[in-house]
Symmetry: C2
Subunit: 369 residues, 2 copies
């Protein structure tokens, strides 16, 4: 059994996988209506929101696009707060659709500095929205979203658009209490599902912005989703198999309790961080307090070929890790531990690293046997 340890897709529990092979039903019939209503309520509880939540057939990137095109007009000024590859993508989408993007980039491996955000918002009083990544999988850093939203929303009254793709359902994110207007996420992360569904929340302020937002949109136009939801239907044919799976995943999450889900993620992450430190490796995030509980980014030791290390783990240990993206290629490697992850699986990675690292020229501190 392959130990798939990348930051999504994640291994899916067997009972959830089984629902994926259920036969098709009419997506405009009463049975699907029940599923749509029940899953939407369940997703809302995970988001901790009383606002609208919609379920779409797309990857998380589609939901990021939806967050932007439903609330902004070409020419609107926004600040894109970025700490990595996915942060940059959020700003790129806004730019493609005609927003005037003020870039607030922080070095890879660091988190958002609130004072710099305040400075930017003071320097550009015409900024309409703050775009921010909650958990940046490319660097293994989690931003303090609660504090960022407090500055953006409470202090400055801006619209807060959140890429919560690798955080919602893994790391605490209290949509309403924190003042997040739009939160976008995707199924192949903490939700324990295969990829293919995206979820997005919309606050009242987001709907007010929507009424004036002129960016063109059709497939991702949330007003169609809202209109059809009234009659218990999605506007377009949904990925029915994934809706069956979501229905069961939500039952499992509720049975476990969302607090326990967060604790489980914390404990798997802590075990990973402790394990790699014992091996003499170092975390890529500059400070352990900002290290993500869904993916751990690790510096590739001096002189080690990262792709060779990852290759050995894959071919000799059946363990799949991720390398670094873009400019981080070759400099870091990443261990995913979101969703359905056990201590045994993390231990297996550590044991394999202890065997593989010497083969690529690095002597782990911990000597086995």
């Amino acid at each position: 059994m392959t130990n798939l340890r990348i930051p999504g897709p994640i291994p899916v529990p067997d009972d959830i996988l089984e629902t994926m092979s259920w036969q098709m039903i009419n997506h405009r019939g009463p049975e699907f209506k029940d599923i749509l209503f029940r899953t939407t309520e369940g997703v809302k509880r995970v988001f901790e929101t009383k606002n609208d939540v919609f379920i779409m057939t797309s990857s998380g990137t589609g939901a990021m696009e939806a967050a932007i095109v439903n609330t902004l007009s070409p020419g609107d000024k926004i600040v894109n707060v970025s700490v990595g590859v996915f942060g940059a993508r959020f700003g790129e989408i806004a730019s493609v659709f005609g927003a005037e993007v003020v870039k607030l980039d922080f070095p890879y491996g660091t988190a958002v500095d609130l004072d710099k955000l305040r400075d930017t918002l003071n320097a550009h009083p015409d900024i309409k929205a703050v775009l921010v990544t909650h958990n940046e999988t490319s660097t293994g850093v989690t931003n303090d979203l609660q504090a960022i939203a407090a500055v953006a929303k409470r202090e400055f009254g801006k619209l807060v658009l959140v890429d919560g793709i690798s955080s919602v359902c893994s790391i605490p994110l209290s949509t309403d209490a924190w003042g997040c207007d739009v939160v976008a996420t995707a199924s192949q992360k903490g939700w324990m599902l295969p990829p293919g569904l995206a979820f997005i929340s919309f606050s009242e302020d987001a709907w007010e912005a929507h009424a004036e937002a002129k960016m063109p949109r059709f497939y991702f136009d949330m007003s169609a989703y809202k209109r059809y939801f009234e009659i218990g239907q999605p506007p377009y044919t949904p990925a029915i198999s994934l809706m069956f799976a979501l229905d069961l995943a939500l039952q499992k999450i509720e049975a476990e309790g969302i607090g326990s889900v967060f604790e489980r993620h914390f404990s798997m992450a802590q075990m990973t961080r402790d394990g790699i430190k014992k091996l003499g490796l170092t975390l890529f995030p500059r400070d352990e307090s900002i290290a993500s509980n869904t993916v751990t980014a690790i510096n590739v030791p001096e002189g080690v070929d990262a792709s060779k290390l990852i290759g050995i783990l894959r071919t000799e240990h059946d363990i799949v890790l991720s390398g670094g993206q873009a400019s981080l290629s070759g400099k870091i490697f990443r261990i995913g531990h979101m969703g359905y992850t056990t201590a045994e699986e993390i231990q297996e990675v550590m044991d394999a690293l202890a065997v593989a690292l010497p083969k690529v020229g690095f002597s782990p501190t911990r000597i086995e046997a």
Copy 2:
């Protein structure tokens, strides 16, 4: 076992459903690369194209949007050739993204009149593209796409954008030979798959148009799909389970032979048409020669409550049919027979109609027993 007879989603064969519960794999690893390359080649063969074909995570509507935003700029004049609800949607998407839309609407139940298309193209020499639905599920009409494309492409040199959602893999569509620049389709139709994937082809002329096309796009930007395909990856996390299913579905389609797939659709459709005529019902399409081989639209007899008829079939016979959409609501009902459909399933619908029609005040011509 429910007899799901709507124009998609369609019942999926058991062996394909089984692949939907396979465990996740790395979408940026070698195993997925093989699947992506193999399925893309298979989809190309079904499209009968040597051009690029891309696989996206979305419904068919997403692929319709992709066809438009990748080839047009705001202000471009297009003619939207429509014979029903989905034809209207194609034009609406173009309009939302800023195209100047010349509407060429034909009455519901009829097909495209080539002379009127020629008149429109002559009257508006600045038209850049012709948007057309191959098979209109809302009215059960199939347009003569080969002839339409010949006029649009060969006679007038226009870009031809095709909604082939309910036709590709059910009805012959020869993308390259007919001169179709972009063809969009979706998985939950003749492909025998659950919904969630969309496929789109791009001709060289489409790529030339893409280079100048200024409509904003990100999730549906085909240049990202093309760039990533070079390294055997999708740009965004794909619906992996559906890719496993597509891989098997294509094997089954090739084993059967695409010619046999088309014949199977024709024979199921003919059986449906013959059956409803024997019951004394009439086809909604004005002429049987334009009646679709994927869905049969039937006039609701005078005085019959369509929703009551559909309700009886659902609750008393476990058969799910579709009603009419928009202005056709209450006026027609529809029997889907695309993809994996057997003669027994069609016979079951006819037998149930024979029993149910008298209950809603219509005496079938054919008396059972």
